[in-house]
Symmetry: C2
Subunit: 393 residues, 2 copies
Amino acid sequence: MENFNYYIPTKILFGKGKIESLGKEASQYGKNILIVYGKGSIFQKNCYGTSLYQQAKKSLEEVGLTVFELPNVEPNPRIESVYEGAKSCREHKIDLVLAIGGGSTIDCAKAIAGQAKYEGDIWKCYETKDPRPLREVLPIASVLTVSATGSEMNGSSVISNLSCHKKIGLTTPKFRPVFSILDPSYTFTVNQKQTASGCVDIMSHIFEQYFTPDHEGYLQNRMMEGVLKTVIHYAPVALKHPDDYEARANLMWASTLALNNMFEKGKVLTDWATHQMEHELSAFYDITHGVGLGILTPYWMEYVISEENHHRFVEYGREVWKLTGTEEEIAEISIRKTREFFTSLGIPSHLREVGIGEENLEVMAKQATRRGPLGAMKKLYEEDVLAIFKMAL
Amino acid sequence: MENFNYYIPTKILFGKGKIESLGKEASQYGKNILIVYGKGSIFQKNCYGTSLYQQAKKSLEEVGLTVFELPNVEPNPRIESVYEGAKSCREHKIDLVLAIGGGSTIDCAKAIAGQAKYEGDIWKCYETKDPRPLREVLPIASVLTVSATGSEMNGSSVISNLSCHKKIGLTTPKFRPVFSILDPSYTFTVNQKQTASGCVDIMSHIFEQYFTPDHEGYLQNRMMEGVLKTVIHYAPVALKHPDDYEARANLMWASTLALNNMFEKGKVLTDWATHQMEHELSAFYDITHGVGLGILTPYWMEYVISEENHHRFVEYGREVWKLTGTEEEIAEISIRKTREFFTSLGIPSHLREVGIGEENLEVMAKQATRRGPLGAMKKLYEEDVLAIFKMAL
């Protein structure tokens, strides 16, 4: 096991009605709150007979906080929204940036909290993947409404700059939310496509940390298999019964634990090639992240499996899919099972199905590898990424 | 899934050589440090060619800290040591209580940190299991040398008062260490018996949270199976090759995660009957905690299994022991497998083997249930506890 430091101080308030604690938690950080949200789902009537917007405002205002707003944050949030939010933070002397929404909204709130305290252009930090210029970052918190990215408990933020077709992630402990409210009831209204792609995203986060060429991280791998089994068990339930609390709760907590950094601690390497390839698809075509991951993952598996690493697919097949047979059969079938599961959730299996043709494959492959080869299971150079994109067409 | 709040801010420094960070971490809390340790193993020459005592002193003194000492803390630490340590804290204006040792030492350090800031007698808090009088507690940290109790990342402390044959646990977030250094190399010298009983303790912590009558906590149960598989995989390796770093590292991180409160979050109930029964054995006979747990656990399983809960043993057998067959067979064999595994580690299977006869069974059963029936899988009253003790004779 590799040496590591572990420090995950985000406070999680999980469960039905936890929004009532919002005001009290938020008031620990100051008086002026910027709430950041998307395009309207928080105004929908929810299972509490009101809207999340009203619940949040009520809880914040009851304790005397002043609420400012940044609405209309995009899926694949844009750098322009970050600049706008940061301007608002300075104008209104914001003490806490509170995201209400899914991963995109939380990622945007993180960048806003960074830009608000930074004189330079935060996009440069994303482009160089270097958070060090961000000496100070406003406190960040979230009320989660989609189970997918894990942004609610980690220090990562992915921002898109469509003007240059770039979607880039930046990670710093300063981006870790101080608290997050996770009420699974808020995900009852997440539609089939978003539910399915959220589940793929959770599984992909696990795959990126699970599929590594080494034998180290035995404990972490066994626990990650538990997360995969949970998603495989409950994703179909949530699709069939969108208001099944137990299914939504397991998926929500799985999404948070899958990427709060716990599992990567002690592993020598993690992979992340599939995520980096998908970021190019989203940057060029603005597709749903989980859909892109769902298309690419099984092709990535087929491409990278080799003599040296196929024991990892055997473990995966045996533990997660309960496969028996020869090692060769188990490894092969485990990949097929993965594809079949994604398909059963309604995820496409070809790029053409989401409007992506051959036109940009080469430039996307070039851009994906501009900082060097991707991945750990197998180092992927430009031509490898192009080959995977072509397999996925 | 039940509502919960999750906040686990202990910083973990895990791996080879992490002791070098001790001084820097400790200096954040003040100038005067009380180091609390046991009966001499920290003076032994270790794999770094020096002793842990020297390494710790060097790191603390290099940054200008003043070190005071409380040596000779007992396994099953006594309330008298707590009083002595607290007195030293007051005399020397201690800023941080640093345990160097296993769970007993850390538990003692927690009680010391509480007593130091409390005018009353902390034993009363243990007796009433009520931490509320402890308004303030000194910061606690640890350097772990035995993988077992999880005390290095949780808020629990178990103290013994042999004058009244009582061993009682007290839990408060104020007892959670601010940081813990986990270097698996320090466990190379843990002997066979302590290694084995540590492994049983880890598994028992999982069992107490895993075996619950409800169907909730699916994710938690699947992750806990991962911890059990890890201990089953690596315990024999550590016994055969005491300096196998990978085995020791997996066991150490497993011990910490098994009881840092993560797994109980979201579960409706946890059990803890076996631990409470074992506390009576230790209180009356001062036996090794893990040995007591290892003897009792399979008898507890046989006693509590029923129509209503036997699906949990089927899950356990299938997932952890890879059993196939009818549900009845799997449930039954899973218990037998548990006993056989403990036996393979050298753990006795009868109370008589550790010097416990019939003489105190009744009074121990009475005392174990003095605050009401134990457990969740099946409520255990005085006569049930007595029956289990008799099965275990």
